[in-house]
């Protein structure tokens, strides 16, 4: 792979000594996000893997403060921090919520909808590893169709498609939202930097592989994450004001979903027809997003397709 145009800030705000598993997408996501957000930031974290990763009461692995909060409160907790800092005159601080998919797609969605509708001036990050990993791999509404989890066992795998959280947020017409993938760090940094400079409610949906939860080796995390976007299982795009869609990247040659699925133990039980079903859902979703892009831009020709992103 050729590493060109590699523009990632060098300054680290996440330090070694954190408690993440090897190959954790959620940990890498925080490392990247903080590079873009900088030190004039405060975080609030609800119950999720990151409750553990950041360190216990005696240690703290981040160069920004973290206010730990209850599972369903990430969005409002951030809004409250913003209000508290504002009345103290610290109006320019970036306040962000950092939650898992369970805390976002499921238990936290009411507070997110409220904060999004009120256009609270915060950034909401969801690091999506597609199940309740911290409690031991139970399905969430972010778990994709066909996946094994401990509550969707192999004989009865997940039989509902992944909830489309991005469209739910788009319906709130928030000023800025984007999908990012830890395997595409430049795109990740660019979007978080852009989000940082927008006022109002911003939503960043992070694709974050989980080796123990996805039943794969920890050293293929990035490879699998990259395949998620190359197969269009997790397309990268931005939405502004709930209306303007911009696809950030299209793979020069879109790979079949099996290339992604076959790498992970959680999909091992899938039959050929299951894979076909997933392929159809993925194609339909990509088609929908491309149509939205075309509606916004009048063309698909302006979507980048760099070889570099293979």
């Amino acid at each position: 792979m050729i590493m060109k145009n590699w523009q990632i800030p060098e300054k680290e705000l996440l330090f070694s000594g954190h408690a993440a598993c090897q190959g954790c997408g959620g940990a890498l996501a925080m490392r990247l996000a903080l590079k873009a957000l900088g030190e004039n930031s405060v975080a609030t974290i609800p119950a999720c893997c990151w409750t553990i990763i950041s360190g216990d009461v005696l240690y703290h692995a981040l160069k920004v403060p973290v206010f730990h909060t209850a599972f369903e409160t990430a969005a409002i907790s951030a809004a409250g921090l913003k209000a508290g800092l504002s009345v103290r005159g610290l109006k320019d601080a970036t306040v962000f919520a950092w939650a898992g998919d369970g805390g976002t797609f499921d238990i936290g969605i009411q507070a997110i909808s409220g904060a999004a509708e009120r256009n609270e001036d915060i950034i909401y990050f969801v690091y999506d590893n597609e199940a309740y990993m911290n409690t031991g791999i139970q399905r969430s509404s972010a778990t994709p169709w066909g996946a094994w989890t401990t509550t969707t066992p192999v004989k009865h795998p997940e039989d509902k498609p992944k909830k489309n959280i991005d469209e739910i947020l788009a319906a709130h017409k928030i000023p800025y939202q984007a999908t990012v993938n830890v395997a595409y760090p430049e795109d990740f940094i660019r979007k978080v930097t852009k989000a940082k400079n927008v006022k109002g409610f911003r939503f960043i949906h992070i694709f974050a592989p989980c080796p123990p939860g996805w039943k794969m080796a920890s050293d293929i995390s990035i490879q699998v994450a990259r395949l998620a976007t190359q197969t269009a299982i997790f397309p990268l795009y931005e939405i502004e004001n709930g209306r303007n869609y911009t696809v950030s990247y299209l793979p020069p040659n879109k790979l079949p979903v099996i290339e992604y699925l076959k790498m992970q133990g959680r999909f091992k039980h899938l039959k050929e027809e299951d894979v076909e079903h997933i392929q159809r859902m993925v194609d339909e979703n990509l088609d929908y997003i491309l149509k939205k892009h075309e509606l916004t831009h009048g063309t698909l020709e302006n979507i980048p397709r760099p070889e570099f992103y293979k």
């Binding site: 009461v57 981040l62 403060p65 973290v66 206010f67 508290g84 103290r88 601080a93 507070a111």
Partner: protein, 385 residues
């Protein structure tokens, strides 16, 4: 200069919050509390109160917003009732565990089902063990004063405080209130000085994981803070009296000097009981009244001192712990247990779901207590059987 206003209990609470110069308010509508935050939102919008009003989608979020705003160093306020308070329950633990001096006004409303909007104390008493201090007020003036006092105490012990008043009996009833001079209030209640804040440049984890080797000490410290709060309540209640003409204590005696038979009341029914005690005194009865004002921290010493050696005590509970007794009855009995000359204590359940407790009901309870020879587990007053 102080001014007089005719205010409902709800608006007395709003003005109490304004006088306390709260900086972040977050709330959700529920009867009978709604008017508290209606007025506050108007005061904020009109620029009369320099605060941010976070107009949330649930009480759970209201408390969450207060918690993080307080953690960021702001003075935070909310108000609710019944189902709303129950929905906050998880975050009430969070506020106390995070040691944040938030003040919440709870307009006592009975719990559903069946649906009800009228007063009783089961909503606030269900939150007894969350680590919140609790003040039960008798009048609208006391509601106004107690909001200010609550911040004064809470910000010294770093525990949140609930100010509790009866639905409708106080919340929707107008009384003349003295709004104290703002300069003097500012002198009494200076700006909040947090111990720790969440802000950029201070990379700390607040509320992170505590393993068994560290957790217990956090709880020990909360209990010590509660214990210290007794003295601070006494000191600040007296200082309040010196500055504004009306002092407050955790429990307050009325005609108790030579009283042999004592009635204990909580909240607005105390005013009713005052009249009953006056009537009984006219008949030559050695009747006394004890107003129970602060449930947490629990005023062990003062309660024992005031009840030791009395002939009999009756506790009127506008609440019930199902399968046990009225909750103030439980609390009083347990506090008196170490005394060798403890009086027999009788527990009366009355006025649930807003049923009136009248002067003659209190007189009946007094007479019933006086003639009882044996202890009854639970005595119902006014229930239709």
């Amino acid at each position: 200069m102080s001014i007089k206003k005719v205010l409902t209990g709800n608006h007395a609470v709003s003005y109490g919050a304004m006088a306390s110069r709260v900086q972040v308010i977050s709330a959700y509508p529920i009867t009978p509390q709604t008017q508290v935050v209606e007025l506050l939102s108007e005061l904020v919008a009109d620029g009369k109160l320099d605060a941010i009003f976070v107009n949330v989608e649930s009480e759970h979020s209201a408390m969450s917003a207060c918690i993080s705003a307080s953690a960021a160093g702001a003075r935070a306020f909310t108000a609710t009732s019944a189902q709303g308070l129950a929905l906050m329950h998880e975050m009430l633990h969070w506020a106390a565990g995070a040691r944040l001096p938030i003040v919440l006004a709870d307009i006592n409303r009975a719990m559903a089902p069946p649906w009800t909007i009228w007063t009783d104390q089961n909503d606030s008493l269900s939150q007894r063990d969350t680590g919140w201090m609790q003040i039960y007020v008798e009048s609208n003036q006391e509601a106004f004063d107690s909001i200010i006092l609550a911040y004064k105490v809470a910000e010294q012990v770093f525990l949140p405080c609930m100010v509790v008043l009866d639905a409708f009996v106080l919340s929707h009833t107008s009384e003349p209130i003295e709004i104290h001079d703002q300069e003097k209030i500012d002198e009494y209640l200076p700006p909040y000085r947090p111990m720790v804040t969440i802000e950029p440049g201070k990379p700390i984890g607040y509320g992170a994981l505590a393993a068994p080797d560290t957790y217990m000490e956090f709880r020990y410290k909360m209990q010590r803070a509660m214990e210290n709060a007794v003295e601070i309540f006494e000191k600040e209640g007296k200082l309040f009296g010196d500055m504004f003409g009306h002092s407050y204590d955790l429990v307050e005696p009325y005609m108790m000097d030579d009283a042999e038979y004592v009635i204990i009341t909580v909240g607005a029914v105390t005013s009713t009981a005052r009249v009953a005690i006056q009537e009984l005194r006219k008949k030559g009865e050695k009747a006394g009244l004890l107003k129970f004002r602060v449930l947490r921290p629990f005023p062990f010493e003062k309660l024992r001192e005031l009840l030791s050696g009395r002939k009999k005590v009756a506790v009127i509970d506008r609440n019930i712990s199902f399968g046990h007794h009225g909750i103030f009855y439980q609390e009083v009995k347990s506090a008196l247990y170490p005394l060798s000359n403890r009086p027999p204590v009788f527990g009366y359940i009355a006025g649930l779901g807003g049923r009136d407790i009248t002067v003659s009901d209190v007189v009946d309870i007094y007479e019933d207590m006086k003639k009882r020879e044996t202890l009854e587990e639970i005595i119902w007053k006014g229930v239709k059987l």
